[in-house]
Amino acid sequence: MPLQSSGTALKITEIQVNGTRYKIDAAPDTSLLSVLRDQLDLTGSKYGCGEGQCGACTVLIDGNPRHSCTLTVGAAAKRQITTIEGLETNGKLHPLQQAFLDEGAMQCAFCTPGMIMTVVSLLKTNPNPSDAQIAEFMQGNICRCGTYPRIVAAVRRASAEIKGHAGRGE
């Protein structure tokens, strides 16, 4: 059990991120984002607004995109948490990460990890989204530099790449 009594308040002492169990020490109402960044040094997830409006903090909880700034660590404690740091496998970029590079889909790139995590989830449920579906699914992610069209291009590229692999039975 990840719950443990500490003084009067219950504390969360363990979470599972990117397939690894981490020891933590946090009150259950602490934001997951703060635990990831401040306790585990997983700083790829960003603080952008603190109200679930910009998507910079997006992580996957059991495969679904969630704003880690408004999600408490208590609510995430027994779930599988995936962050941007968990996408690379054996030094090889996830097709989406590669697609963002290939399309140059970034400027300052502060929004990029949140964008990528959101699209990972989109492509899982809809491997071949239309531009309108991409726009609707991604409307919670803000890019202030204005690279949206390139991000859409990266999604399409990754979608084709992933389908290509599937077609080749990989």
Binding site: S34, K46, E51, C54, C108, F110, G146
Partner: protein
Amino acid sequence: MTMTTNPIPGGLPEQEVEFERYELRERPAHHFEFDRRDFAKIIGSGIAVLLISKGVVAQQESGQGRGGGQSLPRDISAWLHIAEDGAITVYTGKVEIGQNIRTSLAQVVAEELHAPFEAIRMVMGDTKFTPYDQGTFGSQTTPRMGMQLRRVASAACDIMRDLAAKQWNVEAGRLVAANGAITDPQTKKSLSYGQLAQGQALARAIPDTDPLIPPAEWTVAGKPLAKVDGRDFVTGRHKYTSDVKLPGMMHGKVLRPPTFGATLTSVDGSAAQSMPGVTFVHDGDFVGIAGTDPQTADRALAAIKAEWKPAPVKTNSREVYDYLKANPQAGGRGGGGGRGGQQADNSHAVEEALSASQHKLEATYRVAYIAHAPLEPRAAVAQWEDGGLNVWTGTQRPFGVRSELAAAFHLSEDKVRVQMPDMGSGYGGKHTGECAVEAARLAKAAGKPVKLVWTREEEFTWAYFRPAGVIEIRSGMSGDGTITAWEFLNYNSGPSAIETPYAVANRNVAFHPTDYPLRQGSYRGLAGTANVFARESHMDDLAEAVKMDPLAFRLKNLPNDPTGDRLRGVLQAAAEKFGWSKSQPAPDHGFGIACGVEKGGHIAACAEVAVDRATGAVKIVRVVAAFDCGAIVNPDGLRNQVMGANIQGLGGALFESIEFENGAITNPKFSKYRVPRFPDMPNIEVVLVDRKDIQPAGAGETPLMALAPAIGNAIFHATKIRLRALPLAPNGIKA
């Protein structure tokens, strides 16, 4: 203070740079010299080439031996080092904020140095290691720093050639530099730059006059190279300031007044102070917390009891335009940038021309306060060490922040080091160092490093804004559509791009500074967006008055000079791609066009909008933007900038507006302050005009300027409703 300008024969000077009062650009009062010992430590062995400004010192050479006695030239603006292992490092005070100069500057260095692009590492915006730089703004990186680095690289290449010539005892002129090595085509001997740098400890200063490779002959510059370090960004590995962590680091919070200008009348921090792991700081009006973790800091901040006395309220966001008009600023730093200040008042000639005009038009335009809202809010990590101060912070002016810190803590500047990790952007909004000063004050009290990251609400409230403004235009036109009189008065928003590029015989253009209610400052494009919006909206009404096509009307009134030619070029390029004259909009759709010039950049945009007459909703269907900033250094980066500027500009054009009442911002959150999102995206195409015969200008700002008027003009085309205020349609169009 009123500035008046007369028509300038032959249009505007090509490369004239117009700074304005909102561009925070002063050099610090005290500028201390680069420490020679640091320099020697950095260069170690190898070869360094330093660029000094023209007229300071003709040429200096520190000679063999490390740091041997002479001091370095005073006005170094850039330098480059080639190590014995062949590593090439370029040092510049410019910073990377997403505009991709880490890549484009390395490209121009690789070009002139004849070295592989991949071999070049840029050290940027670190006050300990890079030469002084006033800041990264004003679209100056490419035309100025790019030019300086090209000269440094070119001189370094010559030095390599000379060293090889000496070793082989041949004429340097017959040697060829390529791919990071010098080769003698006759003997086929070759030495890499690293080999040539071996055993050297040479620092050579060069004047900024070396000849350069013309853009038409570029092989590395001019190519669409991808962002260097891109992999660090898609993996989340890049450490922005807000990601920096130091041993023992605490987390800061600052107590903010409830309203602007409120004064602290009492504060009780005893409850906060008694919490474990908390340092409470009260110093004048500054009240803050350092806590061992963010949650502790939050709890301690909430436990502070403070009382504030509000300041008198000047106005609110609805009445601000009347306030600006009613409160001219006496004195002030004025406007007009580098020109116009001493010219005679032309208003009499304009009045005469107006009364003689066949068509007269008079209209008032307004622009709202808007926020930069960079996705990474202000952040700083401060660490005191041996009486000195180390600060990491996101800023466009690391040396400016160093001065602020030195002044705030009564330190000499050489005791302060500011480092600027590539940041989550700024758009002109991060020229100031308040977050760095706050973090440093907390760290000083705590005796430990402190990280302070502003909340989104703090960023929306306590940063500064793009100024609101009022623009009044009176114009006269003859029956054939020739503009004969032009009066253009800008109140508060600023003088950037205030001059009309059209040929008008009688004009009176003036910027009036006023008193203003909110902290205001630089913003991408400055007042260019406001001034181009007003002018190009007005031009559309003039075209309508003589029933001329808006494109033809602009082409007719542009002068036959280089600026006029380049504007015609981008107008026609945008119109052609858009199909301006080849198609008609569908019902309830409209087409609009606009253009502008500033800082050596020439922009034109065509927009198609669709208006839903039932709901009033406005949708931007498509945009074509054509841009000419001379020779293109990196077409992929430039395309990204032009597209991004237009998408960011869409917010200010359609719906962004800072609302304030009773001394407080009432929409300081992304849930209340609407910025462009994915569903707002039009189909957007970018046309780049590559002028290899013209040295490159900057591109970060000007591409933003034509969008708002193009949209406003398209709305007029669709509905016959003329909107004269930005944002145009925050709640749709009420017909």
